[in-house]
């Protein structure tokens, strides 16, 4: 596929240019790691004063946190630069991408590929490892199988949110922060148990923007916890379908956004 090939070539170029300044790469990766670790420090500080949050003890909250962080981190690593699209629309540099013989989506996704974002994935993976070490789970084959499936599906769902957010920026060019509310806000939300939030909010992130399928639903199955909104047990196995559905909708949104693009003419 031409898109994948273009994506691979452009990311490889950005990795090479990143590696030209190794000290800077190490520093920014560490910074990325530390910035995301701060969220978990907040959770640890909370648990220094309480034993449970929304009925979930620390290892289970860490489990939710790890799943959400790794899924989001993978999406962020792959296409996290898409929130810069608004700037390209504003200053007209998107034109350069339009005349190249490769799909625009692949070019925008790979643009300024930030390898430093491995910091977030690493941080999430460490918390997930800690959670798996301490949490009490009756492992079965289905639960084991569900683990990689939900990480990949979760990354797919977050990826769809990134693409849809970028599509929105064709219309509202200055609104990258609105996109952050769904991406960074979404992963923050999922780091806490669903029991913490109001029913309306849980309903919204299950049926409208289906973030609950990233970790809340599959994790409820793995942890043997009651399902949010009393959903049936099979809902825990639907994340791949939800991810594909979200991806298709985001793709449509992207096409619609790209069609509205009018160059600045400068």
């Amino acid at each position: 596929m031409a898109g994948l090939r273009a994506y691979r070539l452009i990311t490889a170029m950005w990795i090479r240019s990143t590696m030209a300044y190794r000290a800077s790469f190490v520093m920014t990766t560490f910074g990325n790691f530390a910035a995301t670790a701060l969220d978990f420090v907040a959770i640890l500080l909370m648990f220094s004063r309480v034993d449970a949050l929304g009925g979930y003890p620390l290892p289970e909250v860490a489990f939710l946190y790890g799943l959400s962080s790794v899924s989001f981190g993978l999406a962020d690593l792959a296409i996290g630069s898409m929130d810069k699209l608004g700037r390209r629309v504003r200053d007209g540099t998107l034109d350069t991408l339009l005349v190249r013989p490769a799909p625009v989506l692949a070019q925008v996704a790979a643009d300024r590929f930030g390898l430093r974002r491995l910091g977030r994935v690493t941080q999430g993976a460490l918390v997930l490892t800690y959670a798996l070490w301490t949490v009490d789970i009756d492992w079965t084959a289905a639960k084991l199988l569900l683990m990689p499936v939900m990480l990949v599906s979760g990354a797919g769902i977050f990826g769809a949110v990134f693409v849809a957010g970028a599509a929105f920026q064709f219309v509202a060019q200055d609104a990258s922060e609105a996109q952050n509310a769904f991406t960074y806000g979404g992963t923050t939300l999922l780091q806490y148990p669903p029991t913490v939030f109001g029913q309306e909010l849980v309903r919204g992130v299950t049926f409208v923007l289906p973030l609950a399928f990233v970790n809340w639903l599959p994790a409820a199955y793995v942890l043997d916890r009651p399902y949010p909104l009393g959903l049936p047990q099979w809902a825990a196995f639907t994340p791949p379908l939800v991810a594909v559905g979200c991806g298709a909708l985001a793709g449509l949104a992207w096409r619609a956004g790209l069609r509205t693009y009018r160059s600045t003419g400068s």
Binding site: T28, L38, L45, M46, A52, A172, Y192, T195, V196, F197
Partner: protein, 266 residues
């Protein structure tokens, strides 16, 4: 007085400049509201578990969340003030032109940052705060005097924030690339200002240390004045002492830095 008029005009210019980014402001308001919503639910779960944690009741904890969202941009706790621009001018050497101007470098940027903060407080702070006050049970004082004291504490907090960020920006004279310093300062600001969690919830000695640092002036101090958990006068004295110390240190570093300026030929 000529100088007063000059810096007043600089502040007004900065206010107007930020006021032109309407879509960005709307997106920021939306993001602050979403993050406030997520935080409020986690705080409610925390205070459900431990009522009167840190000396706050639930309504006070909820008010604290919305104050944080209202002050985040104004006090530039998450960055986004003048420092990127000044660092860029130092890196490119444009700062040499600024030094020849018949205006004081530090006062110029302070005036500009105050104008920015004024707009951010009105443009980005009021709406999320009003949203929180309408949809959640909050603890707001009815005496106008307490509100006035709160605004004084906010103003002092913004000056302290400027003092810290001015030092961060000046580091570019020595480092050329200040990305690492900016990131570390952002992390320290988030952690030590009370943005992550109210400082009175921090356990034991850690709590006492963070409360004595300058960052507590940015959010914790104004919040405690408004919530009535701290006396205004000692709070002002604490903030003013840090403001004076940081501004004086900024002058010292500035004079050391400007002696290093070598104007590149061309």
């Amino acid at each position: 007085m000529g100088a007063g008029r000059l810096y007043g005009a600089v502040a007004a210019g900065a206010f107007r400049r930020y006021a032109t980014y309407r879509a960005a402001t709307a997106a920021g308001v939306f993001a602050n509201t979403v993050f406030g919503l997520i935080l409020v639910y986690t705080y409610l779960a925390l205070w459900d578990e431990r009522p009167r944690l840190g000396g706050y009741d639930q309504a006070q904890a909820v008010t604290y969340v919305w104050l944080g969202q209202a002050l985040l941009a104004a006090a530039a706790i998450g960055g986004g003030g003048f420092e990127d621009e000044l660092m860029e001018r130092i890196r490119t050497g444009d700062v040499a032109i600024d030094l020849y101007r018949p205006a004081d470098l530090q006062l110029w940027w302070l005036a500009s940052d105050l104008g920015r903060a004024g707009f951010q407080l009105l443009g980005r702070g009021v709406v999320p705060f009003a949203f929180g006050a309408v949809f959640f049970e909050v603890a707001l004082p009815s005496e106008p005097l307490r509100w006035a004291a709160f605004l004084v504490a906010v103003g002092l907090g913004v000056v302290v924030g400027f003092g810290i960020r001015y030092l961060v920006a000046l580091s570019a004279f020595w480092l050329i690339d200040g990305t690492g310093v900016v990131q570390m300062s952002w992390l320290a600001g988030f952690f030590c200002s009370g943005m992550l969690l109210p400082l009175n919830v921090f356990p034991g000695e850690l709590g006492e240390v963070v409360r004595a640092l300058p960052w507590s002036s940015l959010l914790q101090a104004p919040a405690d004045v408004l919530l009535g958990t701290a006396d205004p006068l000692p709070t002002f004295a604490f903030q003013a002492a840090w403001a004076v110390a940081l501004l004086a240190l900024g002058r010292l570093v500035q004079s050391a830095a400007t002696r290093r300026v070598v104007v590149q030929g061309g």
